[in-house]
């Protein structure tokens, strides 16, 4: 076994820890691993080029940007805020838990690209969450606003990851099935997929509880700030 290519992992860890530009860190790590493994330069360059082209589907989300950018310039995010404010009972918890459940169900049905950070979180879910949080807790401190946004993005991730592949056999399930098939164990996709259900339920319950907890703390902090302001006045 040649342990030298592990140097690429070390470069990544050190580069991220030192907060250098991540794109630069990743490119340097790839070159370091390749050279440490004794790959000739020409072969390494071809490997980089082919892999970069082969993974270009990952940038397809950029196609949403003209539509989203144009709508934002004309006030989409403001509108999303106002719309949420027109529903009285819609708290931050209800909004995000509903989104979590919806994202998990969509993801279970194989509709993973339907929502996402560029398509739904930035233009809709994040501003809606801010509006709901403001109604719940009053004016948000700068840092709180950022934490509400981050929670909206985290909710999208949890819903996507832990709904995936429960019923419909897609990427992950086929990868598992393919691995076992290569090693002489034959399984049906559904046989594998259904075992993802307990974790999916646990993910929903745990993350929903965290959202509710987050809202409680937000309200408690706001109430404390209001009390302090009142005390300062008198």
């Amino acid at each position: 076994m040649n342990a030298w290519p592990l140097i690429g992992v070390a470069v990544v860890v050190a580069g991220f820890a030192m907060r250098r530009n991540p794109a630069l860190v990743v490119v340097v790590a790839g070159v370091a691993s390749g050279l440490a493994a004794g790959k000739p330069l020409g072969e390494l360059l071809a490997l980089l080029g082919n892999a970069f082209v082969g993974n270009r589907a990952l940038l397809l989300l950029a196609l949403t940007l003209p539509a989203i950018g144009l709508l934002e310039r004309h006030g989409l995010r403001e509108r999303a805020r106002d719309w949420i404010l027109s529903f009285r009972g819609l708290t931050l918890t209800r909004l995000l838990v509903a989104y979590l459940g919806l994202r998990q169900v969509l993801s279970m049905l194989g509709l993973t690209n339907v929502a996402g950070h560029a398509q739904t979180v930035r233009p809709l879910v994040a501003p809606m969450s801010e509006a709901a949080a403001e109604r719940d807790a009053g004016e948000l401190a700068g840092d709180e606003r950022m934490r509400v946004r981050a929670l909206a993005a985290a909710t999208d991730n949890v819903g996507l990851f832990f709904g995936e592949d429960v019923f419909i056999a897609l990427g992950a399930v086929l990868l598992i099935q393919g691995f076992y098939a290569q090693h002489g164990i034959d399984l049906q996709p559904l046989q594998i997929a259904l075992w993802a259900l307990p974790t999916a339920v646990a993910a929903f319950v745990l993350h929903a509880a965290r959202i509710a907890w987050f809202r409680r703390r937000l309200r408690a902090d706001a109430a404390r700030r209001a009390r302090e302001a009142r005390d300062a006045d008198t």
């Binding site: 080029g49 196609l63 950018g69």
Partner: protein, 317 residues
């Protein structure tokens, strides 16, 4: 029949538009950056075809381009986003109709994907079913853009400028997922996975089911965190620990071990900046001051789920 290729070319054209607009604004580093990113979309098919045929220079030139992107990433400036007042004034005019084009992106994608799933006979002559989801997303974006132009009454060029504005705000973060996937390929080709599996095997006491399970679960999380992708970690940890030790030696149920093992890897995905498209790109998109803000918001969920998954593996598998 519609393939993914025209969708790629369309994105390449948008990236070229961004490059030209940046060049006109004298932002040379940004212009060079987007021009290089446009190459795999405009010439990707030719590069891959040449490479399979044994002609390596186009792929090697692209490799040089990847190095240049790494060097340019730190120099290209990220621009600020729109002032909020502007938004508020216009929102009053366009009203709730603004939601329609935004919702068209998910709705059209769903409609096309479902049609391909349930009416394959009807859809097969129209588009390449193997790439249905991505083609659907591409079509949905075009339709939503047309609808957005109609609702806002903006000219197509100004629409593209707005898209370019968001693209420049994303900057290097936009291509980080592609670069990380490229790094994953380099790691795979240089045997990084085998080296890690060998280390794990060397340190655990193989007779203890608990030790094997701990090594399997933590190995999946750790390796996923390093690679930024559970799909890369899964085969390595399965081949190194899961199959030989847990299934063959300790009699674990393969389906349960596989399904919950993969989800254990996903806990690692929530924890790592290497999974850029889920953890770093949204931090940039939402203009969070802390690039690790999204990870901070989700690590407690990830760790709690790791414990749950470990319990499920222990009791069920």
């Amino acid at each position: 029949m519609l393939t993914l290729e025209p969708v790629y070319v369309l994105l390449g054209a948008f990236l070229l538009f961004a490059a030209v607009a940046d060049l006109r604004a004298k932002r040379v580093a940004n212009a060079a950056f987007w021009a290089l990113v446009a190459v795999p979309f405009l010439f990707g098919k030719a590069i891959l075809t040449a490479s399979t045929a044994g002609v390596q220079w186009p792929a090697q030139a692209m490799g040089v381009g990847v190095l240049a992107l790494g060097a340019l990433a730190a120099r290209a400036k990220r621009s600020a986003s729109v002032p909020a007042r502007d938004e508020a004034e216009r929102a009053a005019r366009a009203g709730n109709r603004l939601f329609l084009p935004a919702l068209l992106i998910p709705l059209v994608t769903v409609a096309i994907v479902l049609a391909c799933q349930y009416l394959p006979g009807l859809m097969a002559p129209l588009l390449d079913l193997k790439q249905a989801t991505l083609i659907a997303l591409g079509l949905a974006c075009v339709i939503a853009f047309a609808a957005a132009l109609r609702v806002t009454g903006a000219a197509p060029a100004s629409g593209l400028h707005e898209g370019h504005r968001v693209l420049d705000a994303l900057g290097w973060a936009a291509i980080l997922p592609m670069l990380l996937a490229t790094l994953g390929s380099v790691f795979a080709a240089t045997g990084v996975g085998d080296a890690i599996a060998a280390i794990v095997e060397a340190v655990i006491p193989v007779d203890s089911r608990l030790a094997c399970l701990v090594a399997f679960a933590l190995g999946l999380v750790l390796f996923t965190a390093i690679m930024g992708n559970a799909f890369a970690a899964f085969p390595v940890m399965m081949a190194g620990v899961g199959l030989p030790l847990l299934v063959h030696r300790h009699g674990a149920h393969p389906a349960i071990l596989g399904a919950i093992g993969m989800l254990t890897g996903y806990c690692g995905t929530l924890l790592t900046p290497m999974a850029a498209n889920f953890n770093i790109v949204p931090a940039v998109l939402l203009e969070l001051p802390d690039p690790y803000g999204v990870i901070r918001a989700q690590w407690p969920t990830a760790l709690a789920l790791l414990v749950v998954n470990f319990g499920l593996l222990w009791w069920l598998a």
